[in-house]
Subunit: 460 residues, 2 copies
């Protein structure tokens, strides 16, 4: 029997204690899930009842979606009640005329992508965890992913939203319009606030017409100046058709293609590799536009080598080098970072971080790729030895090398992964004391008892 911590909730499904311990904490942490109870509500009303009971009992709550977040924002402890939205997984309606999807928060991203595709529509959100992450988690973390340059973050896709406040009140703003300036836009309280202000239970998302095809190409470049010039040229020539501009540093490209045992589409040895993709309503015209871009860029000395994907298979091979960084994760430990800054600051920032790391960790390895079209870099740092040899302060010291140089370039310690519990000590690098104080004012206004996802983003 599951524990009965809270009165009046006996009819709401819970995990059995044995099933709690059989779950991993998260995708990143295989240790058994800790929680005083794990509720599995089937409706917004059940979520509301759970929160009312927790509120009355001063019980802390942690919200769980796909548990694939990168900042430990959904990690619960043995004294928390966890609420998993996994049974709120209905796609309530796809309106093909209005091009909207009305869903419960526990719907898996990929399930909704597929359901939209079946109606000849396209959900403009995609990220690596598509098979496990949920729409509610995507909204709570304002997820980014590979289409941001064209469609924006999740914030830009949410038309309507329903959420439950820490005191159990249901805030329902489930309207399907792109334009609605009737008072404060309350959706913004719940998008990207990592479940600290309320629990997202339902949403209406924008869909787009299905994309007929893609044109994809890889360019090799010898300087960051050439990268920045190619990005500008791509935006100017391809406009809204440009969906991805992904940059791999030379060492990343070499390490991944070597580690995967694939023949790299363009030779290793250049400083940078840009993966450029467009969506096109006419496949041939799309390819022609990309070829014309590359011809112009080669003629003006911006790129040294380039190749166009001639088939879906070749396209997937290009993306695999960008996506499948498993070879880099083979050495342990490897720390993953998600930072952002203006494109003009990137070259200097990466050089500074590399210098700091090689001084602090002479045997470190450092790999970089990013969605640079939207200012976002992902960094991988292997400090050079096993964690035991380096001691408990290793991670903190690596973080210092990566985060501190962001301050002088007005950068962000989290582009798309959020702050969660993991990045909390570094929030002050990106946010002023006043900004953090304002965040706390907002949190206290809606959760004065600090019961909902306590310790996420900041400690009160």
């Amino acid at each position: 029997m599951a524990p009965t911590l809270l009165p009046g909730l006996q009819d709401i499904a819970q995990l059995e204690p044995g099933d709690i311990a059989a779950r991993a904490t998260s995708y990143w942490d295989a240790s058994p899930l800790q929680a005083a109870a794990v509720y599995l509500p089937r409706s917004t009303e059940e979520v509301s009842r759970i929160l009312k009971a927790c509120h009355a009992a001063d019980q802390t709550i942690v919200v769980q979606g796909g548990r694939t977040g990168c900042a430990a924002g959904a990690d619960s402890t043995g004294t928390d009640v966890a609420i998993s939205l996994e049974r709120m997984n209905r796609i309530e309606r796809i309106d093909a005329d209005a091009m909207t999807a009305e869903v419960e928060a526990g719907v898996i991203l990929e399930t909704l992508q597929n359901a939209a595709a079946e109606r000849d529509l396209f959900l403009p959100l995609d990220l690596g965890a598509r098979g496990s992450c949920t729409i509610g988690g995507n909204i709570a973390t304002n997820a980014g992913g590979v289409n941001v340059i064209r469609y924006g973050m999740v914030r830009n896709l949410v038309l309507g939203l329903e959420a439950v406040l820490p005191d159990g009140r249901i805030v329902s703003s489930m309207q399907p319009m792109l334009k609605n300036n009737s008072g404060y836009d309350l959706k913004q309280l719940f998008i990207g606030t990592e479940g600290t202000i309320g629990i997202v239970t339902r949403a209406i998302l924008r869909l787009e017409p299905a994309v007929a095809g893609h044109a994809t190409a890889l360019a090799a470049l010898s300087s960051f100046e050439a990268v920045a010039a190619l990005l500008r040229l791509s935006k100017a020539r391809l406009g809204a058709d440009l969906t991805s501009f992904e940059l791999m540093w030379g060492a990343y490209y070499a390490a991944v293609s070597d580690g995967l045992g694939v023949r790299p589409p363009t030779p290793v040895g250049y400083d940078y590799y840009a993966l450029i993709e467009t969506e096109c309503r006419d496949q041939e015209a799309g390819r022609d536009a990309l070829v014309a871009l590359f011809e112009e860029a080669i003629a003006t000395g911006r790129i040294d080598d380039g190749v166009l994907a001639q088939s879906e298979k070749e396209r997937r091979e290009m993306w695999r080098i960008r996506d499948d960084f498993e070879p880099i994760l083979r050495k342990k430990p490897v720390y993953l970072f998600d930072v952002s800054m203006g494109v003009a600051a990137m070259e200097g920032y990466v050089a500074t971080a590399r210098d700091l790391l090689s001084t602090a960790f002479p045997e470190s390895e450092f790999h970089v790729f990013g969605h640079i079209g939207d200012g976002n870099l992902h960094l991988f740092v292997y400090p050079g030895q096993g964690p035991a040899a380096l001691g408990a302060g290793t991670r903190r010291e690596v973080e210092r090398c990566v985060y501190e140089p962001l301050q002088s370039v007005n950068g962000s310690i989290s582009a798309e992964h959020g702050i969660g519990r993991e990045k909390k000590p570094w929030l002050g690098v990106t946010r002023s004391d006043t900004e953090i104080a304002v965040m706390k004012t907002l949190k206290r206004a809606f959760d004065p008892k600090n019961l909902l996802n306590p310790g996420v983003i900041f400690d009160l």
Copy 2:
């Protein structure tokens, strides 16, 4: 000499009392501006000092930009201190590489549009008041306009923001990245909250590459079903190139073209007229795509007649019928409304509102057009007689006819104009009691004394 209401602010510029009275209340209200004082700060620091002094003295404040808002949100009374940001009108930086503009809040929209164009860039915000409205006002009201279908509302264009809280604290989040999930996105507190949480003083906006050209066409249609089908087809065939899909009801089209004395591009007498515009990097290809769309739509019976603008002159003539509704305003009074709903609900909603109006006001005239690609309709109601004859309750009764039917279609009483002071009595049509209570919680958390734009959106 201007009054010295507040200590310590003698060095901050004010309007002379005579100059206050020489100003109109707003574009819509020619009566003399009322205010205990009108401060003209030149910097965020001066705004902060004014707010600190007002906070200490329990003095109410009204923020003023271009004073062209449509909901009386900037109307001050004789006991308010007004703060006009007209002298904070510097374009601090246009970064052509990053495609961003860093500006003070008092910059006139058109000034920034032109400055971007000079750098071969494009500010994707445009609306009728471009020559007088300010960026700060655009942000505070989350302005919409004619490009929303392609670029979103202002919320989607703001990368960085600086604002001053009611207690004078400066919240500066002036980062230029598209992606920044480092804690709560505090910009959202100030975008679309109509100056009730803080005063926007500076911003960083996204720019886009300059648009090479436009293709524009007008279609005549015989049913709303055909309109909805054409909208879907346009989105599918034109994708991100579709920037405008403006619908005029037949009576509007006839009244405006007749009143302006222009020859209508397609004959009057149809039920609906859709003005469709795309932006194109290649003018000829853009026209070809629009012609192909019209051929397909005619072949499948979706449109009855259509014409493509063959020159910039013809394009302007088409837009003039959509933009220049002066003939409809000639009769007095005419009330303007700005509502939104799903496209599927529009036909029924307009019929219901028309029935209610003709029952309540047998001699009324009712005209409709809208940015229907984003769910937004603008309605003009002439109740049929002078206001004196109809009595003071006329406006309220017209509002009832227009707003009440929105409830059953899950619509909004304000798509893009905001609530201001004027629409406050009707907020409950669109928002639940819980939603309004949450808005008030937010307001109280930052402005417990209710000093900043009091009475805008709701009364505390």
